[in-house]
Symmetry: C2
Subunit: 367 residues, 2 copies
């Protein structure tokens, strides 16, 4: 099997000096034969960086773009003026079949907006979402939380679609039959929360093929109460960053307490392999290489602040998704989840709710 | 100094069998002379529980109520029919000066709604909020987050008022001059987030006496970036429970990793005092004995699932607040924070926005 990946060579805080070594690293590590790369951005900079990336140089094509999308480009501006940019051209290569997946570490809002317009969403989905995979204390060991921040304001229908996409994603990557789905709220009783989550609750409860658990609370995320946790992008982003911050906090006090007495220091030295394991589990870079869930093609977002190793991981995520026919699996699952009648209802609501990507409310926000 | 506390004797998951021993314990531990208690609820049950609480029996009065507010009572129903209930009568005792503070472990929504109606809010405040005090890695070591879930939907004006109340609370309990205030959002750039947080940002930025830091993100909470973190009750509740869940998760994997090898077990035994210290810091029952911030009198909420020790702590919080003239300090600080012009603007907006407590949107939600 041979395939092609479109790379936004200018994305991320470090740009071309991180993306090119990162892609070279991915090429070294992967076992896939016949990989080809399309590199989009400022040609002189890319060609200069390729001098120290011989493997990539041998199997890539550089496509120069005069327009560059930066971290400060607003999503609506990217959609209006960014089709011929590094990001727009890379996405376009996937749309017209010249590449199998696109990877960028650039501006999330611009990437999401351009991807939505150029790649379109799956049947029954009107907004893509960004999922995060978190470790949990449950027997299953992992949970998917979405949306991570692509959609700051969500309608009940958006939440229903996130539930369906999350279920399909969990079924695929955890390889389980009927993933459980929870809706994040301030309490588990039906009466709790605002009108939006209550309406989404009713819609989800009525879906006969969905294994809907009901409302879950913030502490259910890391307890792994359900395989999927659904929330709007504002709450999801804040919950996930709070989780990151808490992990850092606990590690910090652990370090402080261990190093403040001879017993602590000695115990640490003896148990070091165990401490290293704790660090590995709690320090995982959960978010790198997140897919935009709900698009008709594979678009992978790398963390903007990542290094070459992190970017290589994101390239690896894209390769695995292409190899496993990710999009076809998710679309098939979405079809399976909804009865014809439910599908019709959701489609109608989606059409009624759909507004132009350039309006304020619809524009995805950078995370 | 002698003073009186009004106790809802029926509140909490364990009710009278937890509240009476808890109050007895508080009485044993406190050094305050001349304490008196008014105990509201089902008189026969209270009197029976008092048989094993000799100290409390000697300095309390039991007031029987036929109506009992339960965990299932809706806030609007509590306001309509609950004035003569265990909870309503206890709050009423504070209102008419027979008690200096009220403490309940009962239904948060009902407690908040009744307190708001009976005790009224401070000048310039139209909704009370529940703050949480969290440990952080900053030099300061603690931060205040509000709202914890009393107000599920918040206007920009509510967020501004939470900022002022949080600042006044931080100045008082941390004893610092100019506490810094952050507004929780999905990014620190001014353009990020929904219209509500953007509008609150503009209002806060223009307040000349407020030490406003700008937007903060989820991971800034435990990093202690600011002394106060302001958010709506939906997001705040989910962020705080996510933090609780993450603490439990990290402790769980720590335990698992330490106990899965002989080196881990030995290291744990040697460093046990250090581990105990970590547990103590990360396990703190942050939420117990939270005050309803913004009321004209002291109303303390104990966690519903607490035991006698936890309830005794909540009684202790109330005693400290009475002793330190908490309400007067906060009101004075609120006046100081706002220039006359700003005060006028906030007052006008508050009046325009104020709606009846019985309407759906205004009713506080149980947490």
């Amino acid at each position: 099997m041979s395939f092609t990946l479109a790379i936004d060579a200018m994305g991320g805080d470090l740009g071309v000096s991180m993306v090119i070594p990162g892609t070279e690293l991915a090429l070294k590590k992967t076992q896939v034969k016949g990989l080809r790369f399309l590199l989009y951005g400022d040609a002189p900079s890319i060609q200069s960086a390729l001098e120290t990336a011989p493997l990539l140089k041998a199997c890539s094509e550089v496509i120069h773009t005069d327009i560059i999308v930066t971290n400060y480009t607003k999503p609506a501006v990217a959609v209006r003026n960014g089709r011929k940019s590094n990001l727009g051209m890379a996405i376009d290569a996937v749309r017209d079949g010249r590449a199998h997946a696109v990877i960028s570490a650039g501006n999330t809002g611009a990437y999401m907006a351009l991807s939505k317009v150029l790649l379109k969403t799956l049947d029954g989905i009107n907004r893509p979402a960004i999922p995060a995979i978190l470790p949990t204390t449950s027997s299953h060991g992992r949970t998917i939380v979405l949306d991570l921040g692509a959609n700051i304001e969500c309608s009940p229908l958006n939440l229903v679609q996130f539930a369906l996409m999350g279920e399909a994603f969990a079924a695929k990557i955890f390889n389980i039959d009927r993933p459980t789905v929870g809706l994040l709220n301030v309490g588990s009783e039906e009466l709790k929360g605002h009108a939006g989550v209550q309406e989404a609750f009713q819609l989800l409860r009525d879906m006969s093929n969905l294994n809907f658990h009901g409302f879950v609370e913030g502490d259910d995320i890391m307890a792994g109460t359900t395989d999927v946790v659904v929330t709007d992008g504002f709450t999801g982003n804040i919950a996930l960053k709070s989780i990151e911050g808490t992990t850092r906090f606990v590690r910090h006090i652990l370090q402080t307490c261990m190093s403040s007495s001879w017993r602590g220091k000695l115990g640490y030295l003896i148990a070091k392999p165990a401490f290293d394991r704790v660090k590995q589990i709690s320090d995982a870079r959960y978010y790198n290489g997140a897919v935009f869930l709900g698009l008709r093609h594979i678009a992978v977002k790398s963390h903007g602040g990542t290094d070459a190793i992190g970017f290589a991981n994101a390239v690896g995520v894209a390769i695995n998704m292409v190899k496993s026919n990710f999009i076809e699996s998710v679309q098939a699952r979405l079809t399976l989840l909804q009865t014809q009648q439910e599908q019709l209802k959701i489609d109608q609501a989606a059409r009624a709710e759909s507004v132009d990507v350039l309006s304020t409310k619809e524009s995805p926000e950078p995370i």
